[in-house]
């Protein structure tokens, strides 16, 4: 067709938006923003073929399209379902979706070790966020949780298979960023695991990105392991001249020390530009980098709490979703409790010491 990109109208939770033909429901919801965006654990817009597996983004299509208004018989995975003109989607307004999503969250947490207190991902873990939103306090699972034999993936990447939710993102990353994938999914069903079949370290120059795409603490940075909690560190944008990648990164600092380097992430927790292993693992001095300024963190997880005044607050869609009705009672959590109070900067609290304190006793006051 010669005309420009055709746009279609799609209504998600009573909010109508014009999107280009071929957009998925999830992407359309992200264009609206706010609470109408279904959570996504396996979908990653930068990875081709990802999505459809975790089932957290299930939504109800109450009207197929203008041409065929029949509702879809089952809940559909919004990350892999394209929009049609006149489509009506229910996400947070559908009790069916709520029920199914609670089920999915329960399934995802069923064999998860819930070792957040010792997990490096805690604070920036998507499963943790999801658990807070949809999980119940207790579990109905009374059996022994699944464990795996340990696999060593080399000097940089730590694999905790018990935490894995099998989103396949790291597999797609290795397929699409590196020239030869060395790890993959072995076995099937509930024994399926991420591993290299023959014990082998992952050493491709871009393989470090699997740490960033991992939604849980299954793949973490060995150079940052147990060094600090993410909410005590300050994210700072920085760049350097790198031969093989863009060199645009986020430094996670505590004081002057660079504890961790990651790629920059957008408000959906997705990497903006992939970075190479050298930038990620080898350049841990502020002198290696040109500092640009504090990272704009969305109010997405605890990391954003207490850092900067320019925290991005997502759009409130509450009133629009409820057809213009305002909630009768809406409490600001901060007026009740000091928990997560944005005016308290956690990194300023006299909290746990950095590794420096212990490693170099001379530095101690």
């Amino acid at each position: 067709m010669s005309e420009a990109v055709k746009t279609v109208k799609v209504t998600i939770d009573n909010i109508t938006v014009d999107v280009p033909m071929g957009t998925t429901i999830l992407q359309a919801a992200r264009m609206i923003g706010g609470d109408v965006v279904p959570p996504a654990m396996c979908y990653y817009s930068k990875l081709q073929g990802s999505g459809g597996k975790c089932r957290t983004c299930l939504v109800e299509v109450s009207k197929g399209s203008e041409a065929d208004p029949r509702p879809m018989p089952k809940l559909v995975a919004s990350c892999r379902t394209g929009v049609m003109d006149g489509m009506e989607v229910k996400n947070m307004t559908s009790p069916k979706v709520e029920d199914a999503r609670n089920g999915v969250v329960e399934f995802l947490l069923l064999n998860h070790p819930l070792d957040c207190p010792v997990c490096d991902q805690a604070g920036e873990c998507h499963l943790q966020d999801l658990g807070y939103q949809h999980g119940k306090q207790g579990t109905r699972y009374e059996f022994k949780r699944r464990t795996f034999e340990k696999h060593d993936l080399g000097p940089y990447i730590q694999l905790h298979m018990t935490r894995c939710i099998l989103c396949y993102r790291c597999v797609f990353t290795a397929d699409q960023l590196t020239d030869k994938r060395a790890h993959g999914i072995l076995s099937r069903g509930d024994h399926a695991e991420i591993a290299t079949y023959i014990e082998k370290s992952l050493d491709n120059n871009f393989i470090g990105n699997v740490i960033d795409v991992c939604p849980v603490g299954a793949l973490t940075d060995k150079t940052f392991r147990f060094k600090n909690r993410v909410w005590f560190t300050k994210p700072v944008n920085a760049h350097r001249d790198c031969k093989c990648c863009s060199g645009k990164v986020t430094l996670w600092q505590r004081g002057e020390e660079v504890l961790r380097v990651t790629a920059r992430k957008d408000q959906w927790g997705e990497v903006e530009e992939w970075i190479c292993n050298e930038c990620r693992f080898e350049k841990k001095k502020t002198t290696d980098w040109t500092i640009e300024g504090p990272t704009h963190v969305s109010r997405h997880s605890v990391i954003s709490q207490g850092h900067y005044e320019n925290t991005i607050k997502p759009k409130e869609t509450f009133t629009a979703v409820h057809g213009g009705r305002n909630p009768q009672l809406l409490m600001d959590i901060h007026s009740v409790s000091e928990v997560n109070d944005p005016s308290i900067d956690l990194s300023q609290i006299n909290g746990p010491a950095t590794s420096d304190v212990y490693n170099h006793s001379t530095k101690q006051a």
Binding site: A77, F107, L110, R188, D190
Partner: protein, 449 residues
């Protein structure tokens, strides 16, 4: 005697070989088809009302007409011979005894769909059948029914046999395609459907062995004649593999006007329940369909006689009905324990889940563990409600139908046999040595004197 379209010649000496099969009138459908327009063959199949014999019962002619036909892109026909459903063994019989019938059906269907390379994806455990099929393919090729320019029509077709590696999930059409491509057998997310993007991203039709074999009689007798057999939208004949507590287990070809009662008790078919026992329950369509107690099996909830066809078996929905499925007819007599039976099925589905999507990966294992607990007399009443809730959250929320297949047997067992589950919970010691027995869901018609 009922009409036999597929198995009529199964007992002819040497029918496995080309000469005998040809002498018995074989490959007439190929000769007829190659003189027709491909679209006309699809039209005949549409007219015949043939429905997919693999389980879902989707109209085959309609499936064929969905096949995209872009210029310059090859199209593929894949025969799904990955018959792994517990209780279903009809395709094995067909391929083992009448390999040429399948090959003939494949040639006709390939011509109708324009597939020059056709694959038979066969279950890994059917190792000895691979040889039988390959010999049949070689014989057909020697006689000019396969290869280049078949019978001078200008149509080329090759058939390849590919063995699976023993995964139930590879019977799901998109997982089958993945496996055929040499990848891990994970179902794909639909859409796109295989008719648009299938094998190697080309338009593909995946059909069951029996469906493709049924194309031969359809072409020989004409679609309209074929549609006259059977009743309503259940046309033609169906292969049923009967097993369990019956006198004569085996593969039977039935007309879909046969009643369930006659199928179980007549000597022409199953020959009744052995040792004078009474019928307790039956899984009428392979392990994944809901189990039915005897009182709902022989008569529908409305009191009508239940027939062995798509509509009648699913009469009443899942509340009081089941499905014809793939035709794996499993009969349970009064000595069988429904809890144990459900556990066996749950264990199978846990083992066969591909692990791709979370409800199926986690839920199937959870259900198995709870059922093990109940079966061993360690369960609680709340476990039964929990099981119900788990199956409800798996069903319909997974990528492929394996989640549904795992949820339905558990749901049906609790729906119809809840008292037996509760008896297991309330009698933890007794249930280890005794069975619950018949209770109120016994077969009300055949009461022994």
């Amino acid at each position: 005697m009922a009409t036999k379209l597929l198995l009529a010649k199964a007992h002819v000496e040497g029918i496995r070989h080309f000469e005998v099969y040809r002498r018995e009138g074989g490959y007439a459908a190929v000769e007829k088809a190659l003189k027709m327009e491909p679209a006309a063959i699809v039209e005949e199949v549409k007219k015949s009302g043939l429905r997919g014999r693999g389980g879902a019962g989707f109209p085959s002619g309609m499936k064929w007409s969905f096949l995209a036909k872009p210029e310059g892109v090859p199209r593929y026909l894949v025969c799904n011979a990955d018959e792994s459903e517990p209780g279903t063994f009809k395709d094995r019989y067909l391929m083992e005894f009448l390999p040429h019938l399948l090959i003939e059906g494949l040639i006709v269907s390939s011509f109708a769909l324009g597939s020059n390379r056709t694959y038979i994806y066969i279950r890994g455990e059917y190792a000895w059948i691979v040889g039988i099929l390959e010999q049949a393919i070689a014989e057909a090729k020697q006689n000019g029914f396969l290869g280049k320019n078949i019978l001078g029509s200008g149509f080329d077709c090759e058939i390849y046999v590919q063995r699976g590696a023993g995964a139930y999930i590879c019977g799901e059409e998109t997982a089958l395609i993945e496996s055929l491509e040499g990848k891990r057998g994970n179902p794909r997310i639909k859409p796109p459907f295989p008719a648009i993007k299938g094998l190697w991203d080309c338009p593909t039709v995946v059909n069951n062995v029996e469906t493709l074999a049924a194309v031969v009689p359809i072409l020989n007798m004409g679609g309209e004649e074929y549609a006259k057999i059977g009743v309503g939208r259940s046309t033609g004949t169906k292969l049923i593999s009967a097993c369990g507590n019956i006198n004569k287990p085996g593969v039977y070809e039935i007309e879909m006007t046969l009643s369930v009662e006659e199928f179980i008790y007549s000597d022409e078919y199953c020959g009744g329940i052995p040792n004078g026992k009474r019928l307790k329950a039956c899984i009428p369509g392979g392990s994944s369909v809901p189990i039915l107690p005897a009182n709902l099996l022989l008569k529908t909830a409305k009191g009508e006689t239940r027939l062995m066809n798509y509509e009648s078996l699913s009469d009443g929905g899942f509340a009081t009905g089941s499905m014809l499925g793939s035709g794996g007819f499993i009969v349970l007599d009064e000595d069988q324990c429904v809890v144990k039976n459900t556990l066996t099925l749950a264990r199978f589905y846990r083992h066969e889940s591909c692990g791709q999507c979370s409800p199926c990966r986690e839920g199937t294992g959870w259900m198995e563990k709870i059922l093990t607990k109940i079966e061993n007399g360690k369960g609680a009443i709340s476990d039964i409600d929990l099981l119900w809730d788990i199956q409800r959250k798996i069903e319909g929320n997974t990528i492929c139908p394996l989640g549904d297949a795992a949820a339905w047997p558990v749901a049906a067992a609790i729906r119809h046999f809840r008292d037996e589950f509760e008896w297991h919970v309330n009698n933890p010691e007794l249930c280890q040595t005794q069975n619950y027995g018949l209770a109120h869901y016994a077969d009300p018609i055949h009461v022994p004197a």
